[in-house]
Point group: C2
């Protein structure tokens, strides 16, 4: 049995204002670990196909991982999960910062919110003292302000997760923001709107307890052994953040440019690079709890039109979507736009995609002067970008349409199908499936819709070897045979990352699955082997698939936007490649043990111990 | 598909003197790898429960591994497999040296012998030229002489595997010996008698072809990366051989002393230690093909009654069974006895066990003067030891009884049950299950009967950590909970070692399962992951179990000798421990997915893809 490995779920029913604590069964932990895996299990048990995402029946879960709160490096993360109002399907977002770490120190592995309050509230978790507090005075406030106000009402050490106006306004691309102006985002799948629908403005946490582990000495020893390697290997990430690879990413044709229409934009990429940021607006680095990499950027803009105070700077995704996607190369403007998204509580990826859609629609004559408020919505115009961010968050003018996401906007604006740049309702992040064939399979099959992080497979084609997965060498990004298998294995490993919860960037620091498994065993006191460990990822991925299948998904939704499938870009590092999706998907299904409709066979479900889940 | 990964089986039907070559299907290789796994698969397909071990219908297989013949360190091994005439069950033996390496260079992964010759023959494999040659002139000769004679008839580079007089005489503990006076033994389960029953004196091999691999550069790179670590970690093994641990092994109560009756013999252990050998009779070290450890001993005795020329010296097992088991502490005498066993072609482990049985039986009055030829069979007498070796090999006097093995000798001599020191008919090797609880589970469940190498689990309780198996720290040897699981996992890994074929001593040199998997992928061009890799071991172990189940084995045979289960030794490093076998076995069965009778459930067989095998 576990020595001191605590497993407690905090339950909050906002409708009835009930709060209670439940144990989490060890066999459930061993099958789903924590994070989004455990979150998926609760949703699978307790919601149905008729649960409306914005109804009180939807659950909103915040789950740390078994290692969160410990010294295990990069473990200081948590997952937010719910049925997504943007996609109507499985929704999850992965967050860094200090909130999950603090939740664990308050004595909880997760918080599961049900029901809805009848007026704005926030949840205050202070070790064993838990209160549902009125939040009328916070409603309408941006997330940076909310953070300061709640700290003032509680303690200076309190860590706050909150929605901004976007979540309150049920904007479908609303994020939940953590850590105030350090701004760690649960960005994707519109979970801020779920929080808004529950009238839950914030969850504030303070914790004073050590997180017990089975083998603290082992954890420390492995950390000491790996630390020099991790710091050395991650040096580029530490120095230049996630945008340190911007120039290379543009060179290989991986950067989305002008709403996925162009293949090359070298001058722009240079201006948006982490190196350029370091020379201009960078004033510091940010480390999440237990992190040794520090990819987070701290920026400040002291002159020009886009002044900001010291706070979280833009990551690669923000620079690409608010920048390259819109042909904007002014890093200060994007920094400002990023902060606006953070304060409003908006997913920068989906928001950038929506702005790029508007710019292309305007250029091609699909927007009327009434719809644009008479202003030209031109490529490369920072002012329009900033205006649209506010409009989306406030549901004003064109923003009221865009606030529903790309899929709905294409319909509402009557745009041709090639504008429909989403998978299963989620806007594409800033990695082009035409540059890495595995990204094509990954976007098409990710359970939360188009997502690079649910597969993260292209790192195996770029810079990371994973002998335990069968890839001791870098893989050819344009290969077709074996790509379905590679994607499936990467997704299963990422499902473990999202559940354990470790940061995927630890891969860039030399952390391998064997290290992850060892840390898990040290934390829990288990003696799990690699076979069982890797199978957990497969189980979790399949459970989320089952969740979506119950909502009507099948293989027909495992596809990509027309533009990605059919339109070569003619320039750049992947000018001629179009991913042969159906061929790769066939291999993927076969390897996964799914039938030709993308449904897991009963043999596969039995192998994964998911018979009961499948039958319910 | 495989790039250049060759997979060919040489078939020889001695009855009809037919020789042909067959491809080995890739899916079979991917499921069973090579070595004893692949050998088990052929036996499972092509023999029945009524196949008498000494009949022409029994198959005798010699299988190298996928990595044999390459630079992969410690890969130069092969397996010999057949239904065992000693146990009546699954028989296999694992051999080093250069024979397997040379077979691969001749273009074959294995040789499978069926039928029987009507007069003595030997097989001559010289690349594609293969002959069945007369061996009347070799019959009766010892293995060292046979090696020289065949080299004279073929080439100086020829590598010979042969039986000695013991195998010819169908002695049930007869070995097959390789590499002449370098003397690498396929010792266990009496396979020399199978070779003798086929009138096959020897298989001589010469090969001139490079062994193609998919990624030679990768193999070389990983070798270079690991080489310094391997050499450093294995330094003790290089310096002092397998008996370098003799003193410690005695201290912890792991050494069998006086036929498993005593717990302590420190002065004797010192005299039999690798350190003492290095100070006395050691003149060199022996490296198997592709080995970087060199645990093999080369000895020469130049004075005293036990003169030997330069040749293979005794290993730990020989020193323990001919030595400690018989209370003999004269290392030169044991060296001589070891060479006798090598020349006659006898398994030193079983032979030592038989001599110890005779000594105890004599002491306790169970042997008549007629049975002993009037000579006292006293503990500690080297002359008796040497005499009995010859008598067993020649089936003379008491040796004619002992030649049938311990189980049959106990019956024939009317000895009480506590003399019955075997499991499933195989004599115990020199590690005491009372010193390591996992050895108890391992001996009880090993598919070839009492064997430390089929589990090798005690290394996890002693000096080796295996994070991939869930054991990043050394385990408590006297623990009970978890021991069934640990043993099963270790057995599955060893099934991979026995099939790949790498040397298990690479574990002492820092080689981990991830390295093995990577090498396999480099050799084959596969992209196998760790889940599939570890499952291969489980599949192979279960296939051998199925083979034995078809021969009538069930859980009742998963037991240990009474002496081990019931008799504490009162002295030494494990004086008070008796392994609680039934409790550990329960966990073991459950973890394995076997029912309470030790039969794999259909669910487990389906999971392992062994439905077809189970149904046949």
């Amino acid at each position: 049995m576990l020595k001191g490995f605590r497993q407690r779920l905090l339950r909050v029913d906002l409708t009835n204002r009930r709060i209670w604590v439940e144990p989490i069964a060890e066999d459930v932990l061993r099958r789903f670990l924590g994070g989004s895996g455990l979150g998926a299990w609760y949703h699978f048990q307790e919601t149905t196909a008729s649960t409306d995402p914005l109804s009180p029946e939807n659950l909103l879960g915040f789950f740390a991982g078994p290692a969160t709160g410990t010294l295990v490096p990069t473990s200081g993360r948590h997952a937010v999960v719910a049925r997504s109002p943007l996609t109507g399907l499985w929704g999850e977002a992965d967050v860094g910062g200090r909130w999950g770490w603090t939740l664990k120190r308050a004595g909880y592995d997760g918080v599961l919110i049900s029901g809805a309050a009848d007026e704005p509230v926030y949840l205050w978790i202070n070790d064993d003292e838990i209160e549902i507090r009125p939040a009328g005075h916070l409603w309408g406030k941006d997330t940076y302000s909310v953070d300061e106000l709640i700290k003032g009402e509680t303690t200076a050490k309190t860590v706050v997760g909150s929605i901004g106006p976007a979540g309150e306004n049920l904007v479908k691309v609303a994020a939940i923001m953590f850590d105030g102006k350090d701004a760690r985002a649960a960005g994707r799948t519109g979970l801020g709107a779920v929080m808004g629908s529950k009238k839950l403005k914030a969850i504030a946490v303070s914790g004073s307890q050590d997180v017990p582990v089975a083998n603290p000495e082992g954890i420390r020893r492995l950390l000491q052994e790996l630390l020099p390697l991790m710091k050395r290997q991650a040096q580029g990430m530490t120095n230049y953040g996630t945008a340190g690879g911007m120039v290379t990413i543009e060179e290989v044709g991986d950067l989305p440019i002008k709403n996925w229409q162009e293949g090359s934009w070298p001058e722009g990429a240079k201006k948006l690079s982490g190196q350029h940021m370091a020379e201009t607006i960078l004033v510091g680095r940010y480390y999440c709890a237990s992190c040794v990499i520090g990819c987070g950027r701290v920026t400040e803009v002291k002159e020009g039109p886009y002044l900001t105070g010291r706070g979280a700077g833009p990551e690669y995704e923000t620079l690409s979507t608010l920048g390259a996607m819109c042909l904007i190369d002014d890093i200060a403007a994007i920094n400002y736009g990023g902060e606006l998204c953070n304060r409003y509580g908006l997913d920068t990826i989906s928001t950038g995609a929506l702005i790029a859609l508007a710019m292309e629609a305007y250029e091609k004559g699909y927007l009327s002067p009434e719809q644009t408020g008479g202003r030209p919505v031109k490529w490369g115009d920072p002012e329009i970008m900033l205006q649209l961010i506010s409009d989306i968050a406030q549901r004003r003018g064109l923003g009221a349409i865009l606030a529903e996401g790309v899929r709905a906007s294409v319909k509402r604006l009557g745009l041709p199908p090639e504008f429909d740049l989403e998978v299963k309702g989620l806007e594409l992040p800033a990695h082009d499936p035409r540059a890495y064939n595995s990204i094509a399979v990954g976007y098409a099959t990710s359970n939360r819709g188009a997502c690079h992080l649910q597969g993260f497979s292209h790192v195996l084609e770029k810079s990371v070897t994973l002998p335990e997965l069968g890839y001791p060498e870098l893989q050819d990004r344009f290969a077709v045979d074996g790509k379905g298998i590679l994607t499936a294995r990467a997704q299963d490993l990422m499902a473990i990352y999202d559940s354990l919860k470790m940061c995927k960037f630890s891969l860039f620091a030399g952390v391998k699955p064997t290290h992850m498994l060892t840390w898990l065993n040290y934390v829990t006191g288990w003696s799990m082997d690699m076979k069982e460990f890797l199978q957990i990822g497969e189980r979790i991925f399949n459970l989320k698939r089952l969740y979506n299948l119950h909502l009507g998904v099948d293989g027909r939704q495992d596809t990509l936007p027309l533009r990605i499938l059919q339109q070569k870009r003619s320039t750049g590092g992947a000018a001629e490649n179009l991913p042969p999706l159906s061929q790769m998907l066939k291999e993927y299904y076969q390897y996964r043990g799914w039938d030709e409709n993308g449904v897991p066979t009963s043999k596969k479900l039995a192998e994964l111990g998911l018979e009961r889940e499948a039958g319910s």
